[in-house]
């Protein structure tokens, strides 16, 4: 039996053998899940030009994926409250391992690698108590479960590793759900989302909360910049017509977050809902998408609004040279640059919520 502490300690001593790299998988730049015309679902590896490099069938609707930092290996997660995650060999397309959430837990659809790719971290709901947990899995031991730690809040949705270490930013959405009630939200009046900084062995280092009048703003998705700036996207659980900020920016240890919003008409057009968030390719700006409002909103790193790009059902967003790559429910991949949005590819499929950029992009 591998213990979490013992395992994490042993990593310090471990070396690694040369192995297949992302180049062996055709050097995909992005991963994205999609719904297909026949009603099935699949995970796609995409080139920087938007072309399909590989397609791997999924058993149910996907959400996002975690890419291993060096090995051509990705973990595709079920949409919440799913309990499966598939470790996929992106060279062969084979499912190497199927991860099942432990009894009493479900996944949220996101995850990240820490310890140089040796440990997979999965945000989970321990649904009897509603406690947010981060599941830890030992990659080099066939993704054996090695334990779980508190996420610092309820409803941990997204987890991303900060550069230069193993501290993770965790988007604790604050919403309690229970599989017995499907996706019903059970605590809207009392929800308290937060952005937490969590270390695999040191635990919760810092918890950042919003002002009480924004306690219904569920912190849901994350994008990290090389200097450690965390951008978080929110989903308002109050009145859809309320103009509230949907993007926040923060750095560990630096007090209150900067909340960013567009001028009134544009802000209201987002309908209180941001689906994805991403820094641009060079980190000089950051954007959020709203599939409900059919918009990408671009902001400067200080939170100043730059402009809107309109695109129906747009949701997935990832960094690309000169700006972003966006994906939508009509099967388009759109390159968003300073003053233009131009299609890279249109396929007969509906791209699901997220585009995940791989390290090689």
């Amino acid at each position: 039996m591998t213990t979490r502490r013992g395992f994490l300690a042993s990593l310090l001593a471990a070396g690694s053998l040369p192995a297949l790299s992302w180049a062996d998988a055709g050097s995909p730049a992005y991963l994205a899940a999609a719904g297909e015309p026949g009603g099935g679902f699949a995970l796609f590896g995409l080139g920087a030009d938007g072309r399909d490099l590989f397609r791997i069938p999924l058993p149910a609707r996907g959400h996002a994926a975690a890419a291993h930092p060096t090995r051509p290996e990705a973990v595709a997660f079920a949409r919440r409250p799913g309990t499966y995650a598939l470790v996929i060999d992106c060279v062969t397309g084979d499912v190497q391992t199927r991860l099942n959430a432990p009894e009493g837990h479900h996944f949220y659809g996101h995850g990240c690698f820490v310890h140089g790719g040796a440990v997979l971290v999965t945000p989970e709901n321990r649904f009897q108590t509603g406690e947010g947990r981060l599941g830890l899995w030992a990659r080099d031991e066939g993704y054996a479960r090695i334990g779980d730690i508190p996420s610092g809040g309820m409803g941990p949705h997204d987890a991303q590793r900060l550069p230069g270490g193993d501290v993770m930013a965790i988007a604790n959405g604050g919403i309690r759900t229970h599989p017995a009630h499907g996706r019903d939200k059970l605590n809207i009046d009392t929800m308290r989302p937060n952005l937490a900084y969590v270390h695999p062995t040191q635990g919760v280092l810092e918890v950042v909360e919003l002002d009480p009048d924004l306690h219904k703003n569920s912190i849901r998705h994350l994008s990290l910049r090389g200097d450690g700036t965390v951008a978080f996207a929110m989903q308002w659980q109050g009145d859809v017509a309320d103009p509230v900020p949907l993007l926040g920016l923060h750095r560990q240890g630096q007090g209150a977050p900067v909340l960013a919003q567009a001028p009134l008409a544009e802000q209201m057009a987002m309908q209180g809902y941001a689906g994805s968030v991403s820094f641009s390719g060079d980190g000089s700006e950051v954007a959020i998408t709203s599939p409900r409002g059919g918009r990408v909103h671009r902001f400067a790193p200080d939170g100043a609004f730059i402009g809107a790009v309109r695109r129906g059902d747009v949701c997935g967003l990832a960094p690309a040279p000169g700006g972003y790559l966006a994906s939508d429910g009509m099967g388009a991949l759109v390159r968003v640059t300073r003053d233009a949005a131009r299609p890279l590819a249109v396929a007969e499929r509906a791209w699901d919520n997220h585009l995940v950029r791989l390290g090689s992009a």
């Binding site: 719904g35 959400h63 949409r79 919440r80 659809g109 996706r183 989903q235 009145d239 017509a241 309320d242 103009p243 001028p263 009134l264 008409a265 544009e266 209201m268 057009a269 809902y273 689906g275 599939p291 409900r292 059919g294 309109r310 129906g312 059902d313 747009v314 949701c315 939508d328 429910g329 009509m330 099967g331 388009a332 759109v334 299609p343 249109v346 509906a350 791209w351 699901d352 919520n353």
Partner: protein, 333 residues
């Protein structure tokens, strides 16, 4: 041999999905362009009337006509109306934070000279412009007591002029550009619609979203909860329009649906007719009945019929066009 080839050709044609762009053209020519021309004309009349006499009694009839015309196009959230925040600058509702009266109160308190500068007025907060700002000035006792020489009269005139300007711009931009953009969805270089089906998709989304707006906003807001009905939250209640807006919007959406489906969507047509009959029989123009159990039940039944029309359109029209509404928009994750 020729006959066999012809037969095969027919079979193949029958198997192919119908050409979506034909329906898109019908919607543009039979629904969108006439609707926007009507809104431009009605707001033009409003601005002209306001230039003559900007007092409430004089302006109310043309105001109602302009609002009627807006209901013919308010569901078309695509193209020119999405530029420069126009959709909200025309119709700022729901106003959950009371921004409309607050913005008007600020302009009036400051006697802001922006009312004499049309270009400057286009930069005023969207909450201080459009049909709902005018509704306050023409119908709300807190504002409507002004005379011809008062600042508020000039403000009314400025809002009417601004509305007419926006409506004219939207009308022109549709005719001189966006109609072709929508018609030629998927053509190389199309700046907005990258796939061939995206034109039909955008119109189908407008249809479904329009029905949802009526069910979830126009009806659900005044319904509130059983213990706490909110009749004061009905849309444009000061102007006496809550039920009228619902009826006009349903009528416009039925027209959109029938153009989109080439008049061949019997279940959708029947569902719309049931909703419209229910609205006609409601006899509650302000939806004030939500406050008593019996009246409430009747408004809830109307809401169910509106949702049934949406479901019918989804089941009947969407598949025929090969589109569905909002894979991600509906996901909520």
């Amino acid at each position: 041999m020729k006959q066999i080839l012809l037969a095969i050709g027919i079979v193949i044609a029958l198997l192919l999905p119908p050409r979506a762009h034909a329906d898109v053209g019908a919607v543009i020519d039979g629904h969108i362009l006439p609707g926007h021309a009507g809104f431009a004309a009605a707001t033009g009349d409003l601005a002209t009337a306001a230039a003559r006499d900007c007092t409430p009694d004089a302006l109310r009839p043309t105001y109602q006509a302009a609002f009627d015309a807006w209901m013919g196009v308010s569901h078309l959230r695509l193209g020119p109306v999405e530029e420069e925040g126009r959709a909200l600058a025309i119709a700022f509702w729901p106003d959950t934070r009371g921004l409309v009266p607050r913005t008007l109160g600020r302009l009036i308190a400051a006697q802001d000279p922006v009312v004499t500068d049309p270009a400057g007025f286009a930069e005023v907060s969207v909450a201080g412009r459009g049909l709902f700002a005018l509704e306050r000035l023409l119908f709300d006792p807190d504002f409507a007591g002004y005379g011809p020489g008062d600042y508020t009269c000039a403000l009314t005139r400025a809002i009417a002029t601004d509305l007419a300007r926006m409506a004219a711009r939207i009308d022109t931009e549709w005719r001189d550009g966006f109609a072709d953009t929508l018609r030629n969805a998927g053509a190389p270089g199309n700046p907005v619609y990258h796939g061939e089906k995206e034109g039909a998709q955008a119109l189908f989304t407008a249809l479904v979203t329009g029905l949802e707006f009526t069910a979830d906003q126009r009806l659900d807001r005044p319904l509130g909860t059983f213990d706490r009905p909110r009749p004061n939250r009905a849309e444009a209640r000061r102007a006496g329009r809550p039920l009228r807006n619902i009826t006009l919007s349903l009528t416009a959406l039925r027209d959109l649906a029938m153009h989109l489906a080439n008049d061949d969507a019997p279940q959708t047509a029947a569902a719309f007719d049931r909703a419209l009959e229910t609205a006609a029989a409601l006899d509650d123009p302000l939806l004030a009945g939500v406050a008593d159990p019996q009246g409430r039940l009747r408004v809830e039944i109307l809401q169910q019929h509106v949702r049934a029309a949406r479901d019918a359109a989804r089941a009947e029209i969407g598949p025929r066009l090969g589109v569905s509404a909002g894979f991600n928009a509906l996901d909520g994750d």
